[in-house]
Amino acid sequence: MSHAIEALLITDKGGSPRFYMQLDPKALNMDPVMASSFFAAIDMFSKEVFDEKAPVVQVDYGARLFTLINGVNTNMIAVSVQRLSQESIDVLDSLLAEFELDWLEVVDPFEFSYETSFVDVYLEAFGERVMEKLSLRLLGDSWVPYFTTKPDVLESVFSILMDYINGTRNVKEIIEVSGLSRREVVLDLSKLWAHRVIRFRNMFNFNDFMTTGTQFVRYAQATSAETKDLRDLHPDMAGVIPHLAGLIDGRRTVREILAELGTRYDERELLRALDYLIEVGVIEALTPEKRRILLVKEALELAIRVAEGTYNVTETTNALQFIMKNTKAPEALSQLQLKDGKWAVDFDFKILEGLNQKRLMLLFGEWMKILAQFVSVLNPAKMSIYIGNLTTVYSQRIIRRYSAFDLRGFEEFSYWLEILSTPSKPHVGPIETSHLQIAWSSALEELAYILVTRGHIIYKSESITQIKSASGSPLIDLLPTEWVGRDRVETFERIMVEYSTLGPAAKLTLLILATQRGILIPKEIII
């Protein structure tokens, strides 16, 4: 089944790990021993705070969500980036019951000495059961599996792919050559993964943003030990990496890097070099938190450039310098740099190395604040033109390039632009909300709810009433499910079109909210 689970951990009630497995080969490794102690503390805490213990508890930690399932003798923790479906939770529940019944006694960490790594008490057979029910998460067609041990000495596991995995064929090619179905291939690879006899290359997504770490420079130095070793082992790669160096800048995707070098180098050669650099840990794909920071930094860079065009360089520089006086976060301030008489954003991510999730989220907030303040000190006389220009640029460079996940929270900036560009006084009185549904049954209803509630506050209440009349929708007075005789999609589209005319930034808000929810926007609004 498809699922969002990156890793599974089972701990006993005393906080010792009993089983750990990654279901997403791309996911960051978690230390099972440290994680077990962490969750034991949460478990104890929840027991003390709550009179009764919930069977399933979800804990948000930065960009990750931990789902804790309480068993009789053990706890299971599933790590994911999204909320798990009930179907996934049911599968995990049954796996935990099976573990307690059949496997708990088999794996006892206390039978092993402290010198023994937890990895050595890993239970392959239970891992295989996990994979039978859940399988690898998001197995990409371009991923290349390879054996970590000689296939001919594999005794513990039988594989129908033994003859097809050769370290160069990707998943798609294995399916074609073997004649097996995709499901058969995925299940077999999942089994091999559970037994830890394969790993993958070429795992990154073409939409991943790549950045370098501090050790990367060693591969750009002709005399470093790393370059010398590479020249001996992979001479071709040693020649390619310096060309990649300038492109792995924290703001280009793999696709964009390949496009730049595609005419000079074979794509496979480039991908192998990227794989190698990832494996030696000197480059990485940006994490979800860093992608959000990148997005808002790009938004600021574009806001500065558009301001220089709409106003002029002097006004723009004055505005930014004024804002910098009020900015305290050194990680943000140090990345605003004066180059050739113009302020620019530095996209080097090394400054974020070693920061925890909480700090990263606060820095995201700091960049949002800088962006919001910057536009608020620009001359309001040209604000409508500025927002129009910015919307066009953002549509191309931000909304089309980033994923819906990256755009989370960015709508706040658009609301801010709406407030700045609305001459009317804000609505501060009670809002008519008699029947507007809060538990939405569709993304469109959620969008309508947000537009109506937030719209009431930004624009005059009468503006929302006009949308109701123009779209022919009762909107607030009746639930969407009660719009008998109306074409609901058409009505929602009408709401969007009408909303987009409320102010210069309304269109940007719609673009962001619709992209976040995977909603197609009407042609009239497309930029």
Binding site: A41, V49, V59, K369, A372, W416, I419, V428, T433, I438
Partner: protein, 171 residues
């Protein structure tokens, strides 16, 4: 017939203490899995029953950034209740509660209020004790409640507390 109330309340407090999250949790039941600063003002509502009374609670989520003070000032108008909020893992956020009280007093004459201590699930990172939170609450002359929005602990109770406080002030 029991009366029906339309109550306007505002949430204030330092950045990232969970003001938007508590409103989303209360009004929709879900937990927002990411942090984003509120720029401007958010809005949510929920119907609730307080004893025999039907209450339509309208909650205004005021962005906390310092540069938003002038924007915020507009939205205090007509509010009958204020939720002051801090994060138990941050001393700064508790210290800022006094500043928030001063700002509210500049904009509202008569209001009911409670002090909410959020993020109690982060037990290992907690620095502000319950006693210290209660001490500030009594200095402000308001009721005190500890919540974990993440674990959905005491969220409904907090909103019920402020609604009761406002309704009792009517009598």
């Amino acid at each position: 017939m029991s009366p029906s109330y339309l109550l306007k309340i505002v949430t204030v407090g330092a950045a990232s203490v969970g003001k938007t999250s508590i409103i989303i949790r209360y009004s929709t039941g879900s937990f927002r899995e990411h942090y984003s600063p509120t720029l401007g003002v958010g809005f949510a509502y929920k119907k609730m029953e307080v004893d025999e009374d039907s209450v339509n609670l309208q909650i205004w989520d005021l962005g906390s950034q310092d540069f938003l003070e002038r924007t915020r000032a507009n939205y205090y108008l007509g509010a009958q209740g204020v939720i002051f909020m801090f994060d138990v893992t941050s001393w700064e956020s508790l210290n800022e509660v006094i500043d928030w009280k001063n700002e509210v007093d500049r904009n509202l004459d008569d209001y009911s209020a409670i002090l909410v201590a959020n993020k109690t699930d982060l037990a290992m990172e907690r620095v502000v004790s319950k006693e210290e939170g209660q001490k500030i609450a009594s200095q402000l002359g308001v009721d005190y409640i500890e919540t974990s929005v993440r674990l959905d602990m005491n969220v409904n109770k907090a909103f019920e507390m402020i609604a009761r406080s406002i309704i009792s002030s009517f009598h």
